[in-house]
């Protein structure tokens, strides 16, 4: 019997060795999903691009959920790039540290040919030589124009750190865009007898003062009910600064701007929201209480829509209230498809980046409701308005139209270092642990070290 056992082990081991030597399958089987409305048109190719023969491109993006991953898989399966086999790799979610895995793979030389990164990472990646500059390929591509996309993201995606100007480089194309809106619990607002924010906005009366009135009225309903909730990161508190005329940086983004009177005015307003108890305490996740029906106005981006669609109360969205500077101070969030600097097939990778950002492809993803197409196209925006609920999708488009500040990388410094100092200082301020004067006196001394 010992011999039989030996043979058994030998056979399994031989199978492992020999079958293991088989080349891995290029693509996984297509995941059954609803057929896309339209198959993406083949991307325009650079005039000088050689015909691809047996080229396999790996690409990756960060889906928010399995449904979105299925759509990307379907897009990958249906894209028809001449001679190119596409392998889609769904990246992990935010908690699975998508960026950490990507950076590790870039360091070890095993990163995909094309991948998505958040807008704030573009400078760090580009200045370290991790991204392929697509400008020459784009210039040789008939029909391509930077102006087809929103100018905010394109400023950073075409920024050349060597000349400190926008235009000479092209680091990628934006996958999608998003802005903030306030998700409303209409039942709670009605119960409090407060004005409907959507009507106030329609009448041009949706200001900080009115926002406070609505929030305070709802807050009075009970000790476990809050008027407002915003998550604890730079986006939500940044809008208050922007709307007061402030900014994280100075005008040319080469120094800290957190201690300007305008920025401080915005932060003072935000601090009052938290210390007066109108808002869900800073640092607490506001989504569970909002979903539980305990928060009237929940500030979040378009990406929160699929999750909110399952709540049981009457809800809609409204734009952010107008601040002292005369605008709501919204952000234009974006992320981009970029090409690995070490790709063996830059021309094909550029084709893929274009194909992934066509109006049709973006429409398939936007139909899930989690984001807005990044192309400046009335057709795309009209289609977006039909992706309901919420009924008031226009609020997101107004956010785009109303001079939003583009989420931006820091070309003259380190964004991660800057945001680490800023987040800690603002967190201390908004949770009432430090005063606005302490904040003003110290924050830029520390934050300027990031430049």
């Amino acid at each position: 019997m010992k011999n039989v056992r030996f043979y058994l082990i030998f056979v399994v081991f031989a199978a492992l060795i020999l079958t293991g030597c088989t080349s891995p399958a290029p693509t996984s089987a297509p995941i059954a999903t609803e057929a896309p409305a339209a198959t993406a048109a083949p991307a325009a190719t650079p005039e000088s691009a050689p015909a691809a023969e047996g080229v396999t491109l790996r690409w990756r993006t960060r889906p928010d959920n399995q449904e979105e991953a299925n759509v990307y898989q379907s897009i990958s399966d249906n894209l028809n790039l001449d001679g190119v086999t596409l392998v889609y790799e769904p990246g992990g979610s935010e908690t699975a540290s998508y960026q950490d895995v990507l950076k590790t793979e870039l360091a070890s030389g095993t990163a995909p040919d094309v991948f998505w990164i958040p807008g704030t990472d573009v400078a760090d990646f580009a200045t370290r030589g991790l991204l392929y500059d697509l400008r020459s390929l784009a210039d040789a591509t008939a029909g391509y124009a930077d102006s087809d996309f929103y100018p905010g993201p394109m400023f950073h995606l075409t920024f050349d750190p060597a000349t400190s100007s926008a235009g000479p480089a092209l680091w990628g194309l934006p996958r999608d865009v998003s802005t903030f809106a306030l998700y409303l619990n209409l039942d709670l607002i009605a119960e409090a007898g407060a004005d409907d924010p959507r009507e106030l906005e329609a009448n041009g009366e949706w200001t900080w003062e009115k926002f406070l009135e609505v929030a305070a009225a709802v807050n009075a309903l009970g000790s476990d009910v809050r008027g407002y909730g915003g998550s604890a990161w730079w986006g939500p508190y940044g809008v208050w600064m922007n709307a007061a005329g402030g900014n994280f940086f100075n005008a040319d983004r080469t120094a800290c701007g957190l201690d300007t009177p305008e920025a401080l005015a915005g932060l003072t307003f935000a601090q009052n929201l938290y210390t007066s108890g109108v808002a869900v305490p800073y640092g607490e996740d506001p989504e569970p209480p909002f979903r539980a029906g305990n928060v009237a106005m929940f500030q979040n981006g378009r990406w929160a829509t699929p999750g909110i669609r399952t709540v049981e109360f009457d809800w809609d969205v409204v734009g952010l209230p107008t601040g002292p500077a005369g605008n709501p101070g919204n952000w234009l969030f974006w992320g981009a498809y970029v090409v690995n600097a070490n790709t063996a097939h830059p021309e094909q990778a550029w084709q893929l980046v274009q194909a992934l950002t066509t109006a049709q492809t973006q429409g398939q993803v936007a139909a899930l409701g989690a984001n807005i197409p990044s192309r400046v196209s009335q057709e795309a925006l009209n289609a977006f308005l039909t992706f309901t609920p919420p009924a008031n999708n226009q609020a997101f488009l107004d956010g785009l139209a109303n001079s939003p500040t583009a989420e931006g990388p820091l070309w003259a410094g380190s964004w991660p270092e800057f945001v680490s100092v800023m987040d800690a200082a603002v967190s201390s301020l908004l949770s009432g642990q430090s005063s606005i004067d302490d904040f003003a006196n110290t924050v830029c001394d520390e934050a300027n070290k990031a430049f």
């Binding site: 056979v11 293991g20 030597c21 080349s23 380190s414 949770s431 110290t442």
Partner: protein, 550 residues
């Protein structure tokens, strides 16, 4: 050829082999030292060192073999074995074995039904043992079992894709590199076989101790090589990296102790008044305000080059001070209770162990919901209890604190302490239970005879005799607490918040390395943490030894 001639020929072959190997290694080391390959600097250095060592070892083996010294055989076997393992790994890489495992994972399921045939073959073959008195029948079962297993194996291999694998395997031999690698591997196997033969050992007057050493090293080698490759190697690499400014992508520039200088860089300045601004007394382009001290009426400002490191250190030590006692003392008491011989006690032991085996991320996410200050169960229960007390009293005796578990900088670390202690309690309890089982019952009986009560027996018998277990539990829990990361990373938003109230050293290390692209600096922090843990463990060891001696 007589056997003696055969062994002489084997020795001559080995001698020739090591001569060639030494020369090849010398050339390789020279090329690596002159950076002739397309490799990073550090890889050139490492390769030059390894090839240099191989050259020396091979030359040494050749010299001793020529002198007919048994040490030549030992060295030859060790060197050839290491080279064989290294080349085998390269061979796997060259034949796409590692990537191919993914393919096998996809097709393995198709072959599983045929593995049942293998199992049946085994069972049939095993029946032969029942017929020891009837050899013919025993032979029949043995053969039948073998054939069934063989058929099962063939079907299994076919189903998982052996033909495609074989085709791919053979196709790779068309590559010169793969062919050369295979030949080299075969040559190394031949040399190993030649040197291993008992005749060669006899010819070189090998002793029993040599054989024992070689067998010992052979059996140790999987663990030893794994340790060197996956632990000691990265450890040394991180030590080297800590003296560089490496960002994970570019070159590692040697900057000496600069990273350590930045970590420990402190400055002190006298303040004219308690509210004087830091920028007026320290160089704010280099230092951040860390703390203000009042020493006998004299106000001193402490500035740090890396304020966050000191904050993380403070948080980590505070966490250790709170979490270690909270997960050790209750565990001791709980183990004492669970040590009783009562029906159903095993169930309780299992229940207390559940948090230990639960996934940290899942547990932390559930606790995040429980901790929510607005809709979380913990605050809900606290509010209900307060309401009940006030109701009983008929007055507002107590007010609802509405604790901001994860939003109040004063409470957030405590929230993490509670989760960690809860998670570690079960494991520590099991360790204490194991320790309690080892205490002789006779000691408790003697104590009872002497009139000792339960408390006296616990304090005078249990606690002293559990000292080795307590030491182990304290040491491992302290190390675990010093390395706190997962719970904070999942529980707090942003990780380490609110503010920096839950930023721990490992979290800060991770943020420096992966978020701020400062791998060199992160490595330096890792080494500081290592020294800190090493120091604490050393103190515990000495205290334990002193206690044992007393």
């Amino acid at each position: 050829m007589t056997p003696r001639d055969t062994f002489r020929f084997s020795l001559q072959l080995l001698l020739l082999w090591h001569g060639i190997l030494a020369a090849a290694a010398a050339i390789g080391a020279y090329l690596a030292a002159t950076q002739a390959f397309d490799l990073p600097n550090w890889a050139h250095t490492l390769l030059a060192i390894l090839l240099g060592l191989s050259m020396a070892a091979s030359a040494g083996a050749a010299w001793w073999l020529w002198r007919r010294d048994r040490r030549g055989r030992n060295l030859s076997l060790i060197l050839n074995y290491l080279l064989f393992v290294a080349l085998l790994l390269l061979w796997f890489q060259s034949f796409n074995f590692y990537l191919g495992i993914n393919s096998l994972a996809n097709t393995f399921g198709r072959g599983v039904p045929f593995l049942l045939l293998l199992l049946i073959g085994y069972v049939v073959g095993a029946q032969a043992d029942r017929f020891e008195q009837k050899p013919a029948r025993a032979r029949f079962f043995t053969r039948a079992g073998k054939y069934i297993a063989l058929i099962g194996a063939l079907f299994f291999l076919y189903a998982v894709g052996i033909l495609a694998g074989l085709q791919s395997f053979l196709a790779r031999f068309s590559s010169l590199q793969a062919l050369a690698l295979t030949l080299l591997l075969a040559l190394l196997a031949l040399m190993l076989w030649l040197a291993w033969r008992p005749g060669v050992a006899q010819a070189l007057s090998a002793r029993n101790s040599d054989e024992e050493m070689l067998y010992g090293l052979l059996f140790l080698s999987p663990n030893l090589l794994g340790f060197l490759l996956f632990f000691a190697g990265p450890l040394l690499l991180s030590l080297y990296t800590s003296f560089t400014d490496w960002d994970a992508f570019g070159t590692r520039n040697w900057i000496g102790l600069a990273n350590y200088g930045e970590i420990f860089g402190l400055t002190f300045a006298n303040l004219q008044s308690p509210t004087q601004l830091a920028r007026e007394v320290i160089d704010i382009t280099r230092f951040d305000e860390l703390a203000r001290l009042n020493l006998f009426g004299k106000h001193i400002l402490v500035g740090a080059e890396d304020k966050l490191f000191w904050t993380a250190l403070r948080n980590t030590l505070l966490f250790v001070l709170l979490a270690v006692p909270l997960s050790v003392v209750p565990a001791l008491l709980l183990a004492n209770t669970l040590n009783a011989k009562i029906r159903g006690m095993s169930l309780f032991r299992a229940i207390y162990f559940v948090p230990t085996i639960a996934a940290v991320v899942g547990v932390a996410l559930i606790w995040r919901w429980l901790y929510n200050s607005t809709v979380g169960w913990i605050n809900y229960i606290i509010a209900a209890i307060i309401g009940w007390i006030n109701g009983l009293a008929g007055a507002e005796l107590l007010s609802d604190p509405a604790i901001g578990w994860l939003s109040d900088t004063r409470v957030a670390l405590l929230a993490v302490v509670i989760i960690a202690s809860w998670q570690w309690l079960g494991f520590n309890t099991v360790l204490f239970l194991a320790g309690l089982q080892g205490i002789p019952k006779s000691l408790y009986e003697a104590a009872t005879v002497d009139g000792a009560g339960s408390l006296a027996k616990f304090l005078r018998v249990t606690v002293p005799l559990l000292a080795p277990t307590t030491f182990f539990v304290l040491t491992t829990t302290t190390i675990q607490a010093m390395q706190l990361f997962d719970q904070v990373f999942v529980l707090t938003t942003p990780p380490g918040g609110p503010g920096t109230s839950t930023t721990t050293i490992v979290l800060y290390l991770y943020q420096s390395g992966f978020r701020e692209f400062r791998q060199g600096y992160a490595s330096a922090i890792a080494w500081v943490l290592f020294l800190l843990i090493f120091g604490l463990t050393l103190v515990q060891f000495q205290r334990q030894r002193a206690g044992a001696d007393a």
